[in-house]
């Protein structure tokens, strides 16, 4: 079992090299600054258009009653999802009751330690040279293990097609030297694309700006390479707790505990063999 080093858990500075790429481009990713998101959903549309995504399994014309969010959640056919949160606050201008509107475009996190990739039994999920995580549709057999392994509820199986699908970070566009469709379409630069190192610096600067401007609630999510998933390739600036946006507060890659799981299963297997031996050790009849 490859439990040594940083393969399963912990800080990992060169994820593509860890995956076996001898030479590779810089790791790229998304920095989604939700403080400037205006909820236009251009990212959702651009993603659907570029990737030719079909209608989701759920009724596409149904209204959810969740503010302006009628998309609902990320899924097999929804690779960008704009969340809308309406909060009752006290207005800073009038001191009266007001509504604060949070908007955030969610996407696959392209984790440094990606549970979906770890558990995939066919090798359909792979790490690309850019450090992103992609499903090979010609290999996936639809076992749905990744669906339960993802700590963010991102990847899902398309039931009419039988395979698992998720954001590819527009792998085809990256290969052609273009930025992903969602980042290209974003009119406010809420979705920024680039080398992950640079994005993390940009994000720190922006966070300091917001704190200085009296926004102590601003925080980065997924930007820490020492967190439970080794930092994500797509990270966020949020203005409230992660769970308010439907994000897990402190996800840890499940594979971290894999050695311990196998130890308990191995001991139990030995117990089974011993149990049968004991049952047959007594006299007959």
């Amino acid at each position: 079992m490859t439990t040594s080093g940083n393969s399963l858990y912990g800080r990992l500075d060169d994820v593509s090299a860890d995956a076996g790429y001898v030479t590779h481009p810089q790791r790229v990713g998304f920095f989604t600054d939700t403080s400037v998101c205006i909820g236009c959903k251009a990212c959702e549309v651009a993603c659907k258009e570029w990737n030719g995504l079909p209608e989701p399994d759920a009724d596409v014309l149904a209204l959810t009653g969740m503010s302006y969010d009628n998309t609902g959640a990320l899924g097999a056919s929804t690779w960008r999802h704009v969340a809308f949160i309406e909060q009752d606050v006290i207005s800073e201008i009038t001191d009266g009751a007001a509504t604060r509107w949070l908007m955030a475009s969610d996407v696959c996190k392209h984790c440094t330690h990606a549970a979906c990739l770890d558990v995939c039994p066919t090798g359909a999920l792979v790490r690309t040279e850019f450090g992103s995580v992609v499903v090979q549709a010609d290999v996936c057999n639809g076992c749905a293990y990744c669906v339960s392994a993802c700590p963010f509820g991102v990847i899902d199986r398309r039931e009419d097609d039988g395979r698992a699908w998720k954001c590819t970070m527009c792998y085809d566009r990256l290969r052609g030297g273009l930025e992903p469709a969602c980042a290209k379409a974003c009119p406010t630069d809420s979705i920024q694309f680039g080398p992950l190192d640079e994005l993390r610096e940009t994000a720190q600067t922006r966070l300091a700006e917001l704190h200085a401007a009296g926004r102590p609630e601003a925080r980065l999510y997924g930007a820490d390479p020492d967190d439970g998933i080794g930092g994500s390739g797509a990270f966020f600036l949020l203005l409230d707790e992660p769970e308010v946006y439907g994000l897990p507060p402190d996800p840890v890659v499940t594979t971290k505990d894999l050695p311990s799981m196998w130890r308990w299963a191995g001991a139990s297997a030995a117990l089974l063999a011993a149990g049968v031996a004991v049952a047959f050790a007594g006299r007959r009849r």
Partner: protein, 308 residues
């Protein structure tokens, strides 16, 4: 149970995005997954029984166990295959051998186990290559316990709180269930067969298995707080309780099974039913655990006040 809950801190109010799940609810289906869990563990224990019976000269039992081990391995494999979104790509499971994927490891275990139990069964039926058949049967006593236990790793290695936290309890439930199922099969045979010389072994196996299975089930239901709640409430909780009643009832019936064939048949049916119920309960508990965001938030913020 309710009393214990009242002794705890009042339930926290969790924030969420319109109450929607943070995780995706498992796509694994009924009866496929629970059926596979049951058939796999049954085959695993029967393979060990066949090997031990062969080694101790119980020819008739060895024959029955070998045939049943091979049959249940293939039936379990079929349940797995039709569970896939693309069943025709079943063999993609053997495209790579991947230690980080319990399903990859499990596929190789199942493949090896199926091959070994088939070799033993074919040798048994044809009466040819009996040494090779015995060697294959003996090797299947190694793959069998692994086949029964690995699904615990498969379920625990997910983001589902009720599964991930249960990496100690699930393997006990599964290997206990394996012994119970094989013991119950022996009790069923003793109910209809003229030769009851193997009754004692089947009885002891069923009793040991029920104890281990009960321990695993008890462990799941007593996992503290919100992480164990899905095993205590809803349809999963009902199925866990039903499994417990059936297993205990089967154990009681087994006490009378030496004298009564009816009691032997009843014990076999009750014990088997208990094992199957427990497998359904585990799947449903996992789905309930993924469907409500409070379980995810609580598992990642055990001490923080709601809202941080």
């Amino acid at each position: 149970m309710s009393q214990a809950e009242q002794l705890q801190v009042p339930p926290a109010e969790f924030q969420s995005y319109y109450g929607r799940p943070i995780l995706k609810v498992s796509r694994w289906k009924e009866p496929h997954l629970p059926g596979y869990l049951f058939l796999g563990e049954l085959s695993g224990a029967l393979a060990v029984v066949g090997a031990v019976a062969n080694a101790t000269g119980r020819r008739s039992l060895a024959r029955t166990a070998r045939l049943a081990a091979a049959t249940s391995a293939y039936a379990g494999g079929a349940a797995l295959a039709i569970e896939l979104g693309r069943p025709e790509r079943f063999l993609h499971m053997l495209r790579v051998a991947k230690p980080t994927s319990p399903m990859s490891m499990g596929s190789w275990i199942l493949a090896a186990h199926s091959a070994l139990t088939s070799a033993a069964a074919v040798s048994e039926v044809t009466g040819r290559l009996t040494r090779l058949g015995s060697a294959a049967g003996a090797a299947s006593a190694v793959t069998g316990p692994l086949l029964a236990a690995y699904p615990a790793v498969l379920l625990a290695d997910t983001a589902v709180p009720a599964w991930h936290a249960a990496h100690r309890e699930l393997p006990l439930l599964f290997v206990g269930g394996a012994m119970t199922a094989a013991g119950a099969a022996g009790l069923a045979a003793s109910a209809v067969s003229r030769d009851r010389s193997d009754f004692g072994a089947a009885y002891r196996l069923a009793m040991i298995g029920s104890a281990v299975e009960g321990l695993g089930g008890y462990g799941l239901e007593s996992m503290p707080g919100l992480v164990g709640e899905p095993y205590r409430s809803g349809s999963a909780g009902q199925l866990m309780a039903t499994a417990r009643y059936l297993t205990v009832g089967g154990g009681v019936a087994a006490l009378a099974a030496r004298r009564s064939r009816v009691a032997a048949a009843a014990a076999a049916a009750l014990l088997t039913g208990g094992g199957i119920c427990a497998k359904f309960a585990v799947l449903r508990a996992g789905k309930a655990s993924a469907a409500d965001p409070k379980y995810v938030v609580a598992s990642q913020r055990p001490t923080a006040s709601p809202g941080g």
